[in-house]
Amino acid sequence: MKSISCFVLILAACGLVGVAIAQPIGDVEAGRSKSQACVACHGEVGAADNPAFPMLAGQHADYLVYALEAYRSGDRNNAIMNGQAAALSDEDIRDLAAYFSSQNAALYGLRRKSAKSD
């Protein structure tokens, strides 16, 4: 009996973890409406041609959250981004990350093997 309830508990825990992983990091639509200041430099979907500003479309959402938090805390020092990030709440950051990461990818992962070929 004990082992069965243990098994059920473990199953339930797995289910919970699955739900946690499947949760989007933020609200894409809320992020879109909060992105007006961002798009002036980064482009409407985070894929601006201006090479001075990073493309954001399709970037990992958790990396975007980390970067915005670093600009907000001062771990990253940048005249423009420190000011922009200072006004953002945790929720704003998650929504913006969800929005830009959900756009058609302008960015791609790399493969180390490609560095070895030829």
Binding site: N50, P51, A52, F53, P54, M55, G58, Q59, H60, D62, Y63, V65, Y66, A67, A70, D75, R76, N77, N78, A106, L107, Y108, G109, L110, R111, R112, K113, S114, A115, K116
Partner: protein, 109 residues
């Protein structure tokens, strides 16, 4: 005397090559080997805090250079990136950035 304007025009054409360091994609491919130990592994995570390391394929080269310089100068906190960027010359940064920019859609490189 007629050739002087022509000579000046030639010099002007040569100027950008002298002033702006151009990245060499093939050289960057070799120099990026260390970078790809993290950035070339799909889903690779930074530890403490935990997040997936950024995708760099197709990113603007000028931005990558500015980010590397910010790590080198200490304007971005990150122990590993500060250490690695500290080993790079300006030309290394340009080459690596050119390689990443060219590795965009379709994995051209």
């Amino acid at each position: 005397m007629r050739f002087i304007p022509f000579a000046i025009a030639l010099m002007l054409f040569a100027l950008p090559g002298l002033s702006a360091a151009e990245g060499d994609i093939q050289a960057g491919r070799a120099k990026a080997y260390t970078c790809l130990g993290c950035h070339g592994v799909e889903g690779y995570r930074n530890a403490y805090p935990s997040y997936r390391v950024p995708k760099l394929g197709g990113q603007h080269a000028a931005y990558i250079v500015s980010a590397l310089k910010a790590y080198q100068a200490g304007d971005r906190e990150h122990t590993t990136m500060q250490a690695l960027s500290g080993t790079l010359s300006e030309q290394d940064m340009q080459d690596i950035a050119a390689y990443f920019e060219a590795s965009g859609r379709g994995g051209k490189q």
